[in-house]
């Protein structure tokens, strides 16, 4: 299979999954008890007949389901995500205003978990079977068991309230302000990911270190530092990069909790607010955005993977 046909297959798979997932998000309206129009309008409270009529028109509720879905998807692709009843605003504008903050949070958390997670994993692998290794493995077992909202509160109480190093809420102004405000949220978001990545790194390096060429390099007197960097870590990169990509993709969903815990107005907290206020069009839009982002990033990771392994690349070109 050539690289091109592989890419084409993956993209076709991406589209198929996107269609299926978006259909689930769209059709969920019909699973709700009662009239879908009432549900989309946010419940019977303060519901006027005009409002109901406009919802029916917006979602083409009088047409067959497939047509409705097609039109909704067409609108979504053109960034027309409907109107929010609660905010009396275009959903697209609401999301657009908050999305950058969420992206910053995810980017910051990614930076943290990649640097700290890979670092800890490398350290554990190099110091294998020493107290450093035990510390890393024990620490990550613990870190993987702390839900992000508990981590958030622990971090706030220690670094925000007790030590006063970081602000405890909000997303801040300017680069420095944003950085300060997002440090604790990004850390809580990164904690679980860090645990996963450090384990994957440790294991991938152990596997790579067991290769014959590593012993051959050692027998040839190649300096240990070069062996670790150019043989062990280099050959372990495949699984590490793949896992980093997958974990980063999943982080969009993690922002739901962390943004709520820190009162950051991003799309995660927007989703929680929308559900608590029965504002389904907003929830739909955020879910669609998150799922699309997730599928896109995971596909990208899958396409990038062969580039790290010249054997695969060589075999496919």
């Amino acid at each position: 299979m050539t690289l091109l046909s592989r890419t084409a297959r993956r993209l076709a798979g991406l589209l198929a999954t996107l269609f299926a997932a978006s259909f689930v998000i769209f059709a969920a309206v019909y699973a709700a008890p009662g009239d879908p129009a009432v549900f989309l309008a946010g419940g019977r409270d303060k519901l006027t007949p005009e409002r109901l009529a406009s919802v029916r028109a917006q979602y083409h509720l009088d047409e067959p389901l497939v047509v409705q879905y097609g039109r909704w998807l067409w609108d979504c692709v053109h960034l027309d995500l409907g109107r929010s009843f609660k905010y009396s605003d275009q959903v697209a504008d609401l999301v657009a205003a908050r999305f950058p903050t969420t992206l910053q949070l995810v980017a910051y958390a990614t930076l943290l978990f990649v640097v700290l997670g890979v670092g800890a994993g490398v350290l554990a692998a190099v110091k294998r079977s020493t107290w450093v290794d035990s510390l890393v493995v024990g620490g990550t077992t613990l870190a993987a068991s702390v839900p992000s909202f508990v981590a958030a509160i622990a971090l706030v109480s220690l670094f925000g309230v007790q030590l006063g190093w970081f602000p405890v809420t909000g997303s801040g102004e300017g680069f420095g302000g944003t950085l300060r405000h997002l440090t604790l949220p990004a850390l809580s978001l990164a904690l679980g990911a860090l645990a996963i990545i450090s384990r994957v790194t440790r294991q991938a390096m152990a596997d790579a270190a067991a290769s014959d060429h590593v012993e051959a390099a050692r027998a040839s007197g190649v300096p240990e530092r070069d062996i670790i960097r150019r043989h062990v870590l280099r050959n372990a990169l495949g699984p590490i990069v793949t896992m980093c990509g997958l974990v980063m993709a999943g982080m969009l969903a993690g922002t739901v909790v962390v943004e709520t815990a820190f009162g950051i107005s991003g799309i995660g907290s927007l989703l929680v607010g929308a559900i608590n206020t029965h504002d389904f069009p907003v929830a739909q839009a955020v879910l669609l955005l998150m799922v699309t982002g997730y599928i896109a990033v995971t596909t990208l990771v899958d396409l990038v993977h062969p580039l790290l392994d010249p054997r695969v690349k060589g075999a496919t070109t």
């Binding site: 299926a20 997932a21 689930v24 998000i25 969920a28 309206v29 699973a31 709700a32 008890p33 692998a125 190099v126 294998r128 079977s129 290794d133 035990s134 493995v137 077992t141 613990l142 068991s145 702390v146 839900p147 992000s148 909202f149 508990v150 509160i153 622990a154 706030v156 109480s157 925000g160 309230v161 405890v168 809420t169 390096m205 152990a206 596997d207 270190a209 067991a210 590593v214 050692r218 670790i228 062990v232 993709a249 999943g250 969009l252 969903a253 993690g254 739901v256 909790v257 815990a261 929680v272 559900i275 608590n276 389904f280 929830a283 739909q284 879910l287 998150m290 799922v291 997730y294 599928i295």
Partner: protein, 281 residues
Amino acid sequence: MTATALAPAPSPLRGRRPLGVAVAGAFLALVVLAAVFAPLLAPYAPDAIDLSASLVGTGGEHLLGTDSSGQDLLSRALHGARTSLIAPVLLLAVAAVLGISLGVLAAWRGGWVDALVSRLTDVMYAFPGLLFTVLIIAVFGAGMTTSVLALGLAFTPTIAKYTRSLALSEARKPYVDAYRVLGMGGARICALHVVPNLGRAVLGYLVVLFGEALMSLATLSYLGFGAQPPSSDWGLMVQEGQAAVVQGALLPAMVPGTAIALVVVSFNVVGVWAADRLGSR
């Protein structure tokens, strides 16, 4: 550095497993006992409000202090252990029934049934983290029942996938052919022989998933999607206690938060060990 420095070796936790597992297991046993005897052990009623004793610290009349409405945190945490432990069991039961049925069905029937199950699984995997559950809650509204059922559904594909792979190899075993020759129907063979034979391994897998199930439920309750007041669910307690953290009172959020973390870490330690012993890996 010697040649052995990077030699492959098992996880260092493995060597110490008996001690770690014993400590974690003992802790879990204590928590379960505390949950069972919560009404006897709790010094106060979990919902007894005493505004004169708001945000009291540790010691004194309230061993673990109180929250902002003066409710005794120890009593709430003890009662909360009941919901926080039973709910994950229920959700895993839902997921196990659905997942095992789907997995065995897919493996047994193969063909389009298998393809359909795996496509459905793929669609659910397209929703990262808790988003599939969140979608269901967005449609059906918040609440503990919805959360348990929705999470049960969200955990189904994982169990279905695991069961399918086990059932595939089980279905090829000679005893299956033997029963067929005896004229036994496929459904009967599955129900009476295949599923019980997979039981141990699937059970081990469920133990591994327990920590995640508990964390997921606590997270939903924290977001306001799961347990509703006046429940003492740990996730909900953290949410209610969060406001006091900024005032410097850590206990209302950290008592339930620590409880979650300790129970999950204990389950993860015990789970890996149990999965090994039950042959789930």
